[in-house]
């Protein structure tokens, strides 16, 4: 068997194992919305650790991370810093969110906000914003999967077919087993990602330069601009400190607030498991170090790929690694893509049904699960159509959605910790913050100091939330107590 066929076989074997794990996972979950969306609130530490890590680190980290290190140098370090900053608040917030979920039966993030600030309009708005943020995110994951498969099979399996195969498998296990499948496949995929990233990240610098230190010595001598913060922009100009610093802050807030991650607080068996997951998260985060090393290993490589994001498969295919290693690398990249994509598809469907439909038309438990499954397919199909369109600037759309997701933060803090917050304050804050964020996304040249639009949105959002809330009538004391003291 030639190398390319062997690689293809390994990829399909990997996909078969993933499918098996996903289908097995659902056999224990109950046939209810609580079972499909919150895993009957019964996930242990192992699954919580990997579901968090593998969901946070997507195809963007696995392919985009090396791409950034390769083309933008030190700018990539921002990706290293924000994850832990975003996750640490969960040590305090996670158990509280989980307790509210148990008390009121919440399975989504918006249900908590709307529970504290009753408004069907708010619920619908959050459902629409979440869906708008998720579709480009899923599309990026699909393209990532397709790119890897196309690259390593020498184009014998084109992008469209590769993405279709990988995500058909995701659809099958998410449809049949819901979040249990997401949890157990992410555990398997997380292990694959960690092992592959560390192995390749250490191997490639040794193989090409004789070590990590010697590699950076050479980069320092030949491309010193890559080892000076805040690094470069995509077009090779120096990046601004305002942009670098606010990218860290906005992304950290995004990690705290992304609805598909937030919802996972409801899946943990007990509070101790949530806390342990937060404590252990930094160990997952450090896997970005080998990922960056792979990108830096490409800097002085004599040839260069068409696009920076291809640097990882490009190097792997050119460094005369055995077929088995290339196949496993491919599995690692697919893991990164699929472990985020499945959580997003499942999250999008759950949010649309629970927050966009349920407040307006009451469905039975069975009806809700049926509609969620239909939506998983529809959202998947929509994202797939986008994935087929070339040159569509998805990363830009994703960055815009980060700006909007940031605006969830003041609303959530108000719901959990601020007695005087009112529905009017939260809704007007969200509207103003999102509008400002979208405005600066569309008019990037007007951004002061090159700051991230999410942070600019927050600068407008927080005063509006405070002023409108303080001028309005306080909420009923007993109602507020139910959220503040759990």
């Amino acid at each position: 068997m030639d190398k390319s066929s062997l690689i293809t076989v390994i990829i399909f074997a990997y996909l078969a194992v993933t499918l098996g794990v996903g289908l097995m996972a659902g056999r224990r979950a109950s046939r209810s919305v609580q079972g499909y969306v919150a895993g009957d609130r019964d996930f242990g530490l192992l699954v919580m650790y990997f579901i968090t890590g593998a969901t946070v680190f997507s195809a963007f980290a696995f392919l985009g991370g090396p791409g950034w290190a390769y083309s933008r140098g030190a700018a990539a370090f921002y990706i290293l810093t924000y994850g832990v900053l975003g996750m640490a608040p969960w040590y305090a917030m996670g158990p509280k969110v989980a307790a509210l979920g148990r008390r009121f039966g919440f399975v989504t993030q918006a249900q908590l906000l709307v529970g504290r600030f009753p408004s069907r309009g708010l619920s619908a708005m959050l459902a629409v914003l979440t869906l708008a943020a998720f579709v480009p995110y899923v599309t990026i994951q699909m393209r990532g999967a397709g790119i890897v498969i196309e690259a390593v099979t020498d184009g014998r399996i084109p992008l469209a077919a590769g993405a279709a195969v990988a995500y058909a498998i995701v659809l099958v296990y998410v449809l049949s087993s819901g979040v249990s499948a997401v949890g157990w496949t992410n555990t398997f995929q997380g292990v694959v990602m960690l092992v592959i990233a560390w192995a390749l990240g250490i191997y490639l610098p040794y193989h090409l330069y004789g070590g990590v230190g010697p590699m950076f010595e050479q980069i320092m001598a030949e491309r010193p601009e890559l080892l000076s913060l805040p690094g470069l922009t995509g077009s090779g100009e120096p990046w601004s400190w305002g942009g670098y610093s606010t990218a860290i802050l906005a992304s950290a807030i995004g990690v705290t607030m992304w609805p598909h991650l937030f919802m996972k607080a409801y899946t943990a068996r007990n509070d101790k498991i949530i806390r342990r997951t937060v404590i252990l998260f930094p160990t997952f985060q450090l896997f970005l170090i080998p990922v960056f090393l792979i990108g830096f290993a490409g800097v002085l490589f004599p040839e260069s790929p068409d696009q920076a994001d291809f640097i990882l498969p490009f190097l792997v295919l050119r460094s005369e690694l055995p077929a088995l290693v290339v196949g496993l690398f491919c599995a690692g990249a697919l893991s990164a893509s699929m472990s985020t994509g499945d959580a997003l598809l499942h999250g999008a469907a759950s949010v649309v049904v629970e927050d966009g439909v349920q407040p307006f038309w009451k469905l039975s438990d069975k009806g809700q699960r049926l509609l969620m499954r239909i939506l998983v397919v529809l959202v998947g199909a929509l994202a797939y159509l986008f994935a087929l369109v070339e040159g569509f600037s998805l990363v830009d759309l994703l960055l815009a959605s980060y700006g909007i997701i940031c605006q969830y933060m003041p609303a959530m803090l108000a719901a959990l910790y601020w007695r005087r917050a009112t529905t009017a304050g939260v809704v007007s804050g969200l509207l103003v913050g999102s509008a400002v964020s979208v405005f600066f996304f569309l008019m990037p040249e007007l951004k002061p100091l090159g700051m991230h639009e999410g942070i600019l949105g927050l600068i407008a959002h927080i005063p509006v939330l405070l002023v409108v809330s303080l001028r309005g009538t306080p909420q009923d004391g007993e109602h507020v107590e139910g959220y503040l003291h759990v």
């Binding site: 990590v212 913060l229 860290i248």
Partner: protein
């Protein structure tokens, strides 16, 4: 140390972490040398803060477990 002390330390640590990796502190820590385990210094800097976060959170949790044991408040599981 008591749980409440560790809770304050944890907050202070992560706030310092956030400040240390953005402008202006990070712009002062902007040299590739000395390498730490082969990594440029500006890259080892956030990595060290990440490892520190693991240690601080772990100590906080240990203090929390002792605190709950001592007050036998339980209610956690």
């Amino acid at each position: 140390m008591r749980f409440h002390t560790w809770r304050r330390i944890t907050w202070a640590y992560h706030l310092t972490f956030a400040i240390a990796v953005i402008w202006p502190i990070q712009s002062l820590v902007n040299t590739p040398k000395p390498f730490v385990l082969g990594l440029p210094f500006q890259m080892a800097w956030p990595a060290a803060w990440i490892v520190g976060s693991l240690l601080v959170l772990w100590r906080l949790d240990a203090a929390r477990t002792r605190h709950i044991g001592a007050t036998s408040a339980g209610g956690d599981e």
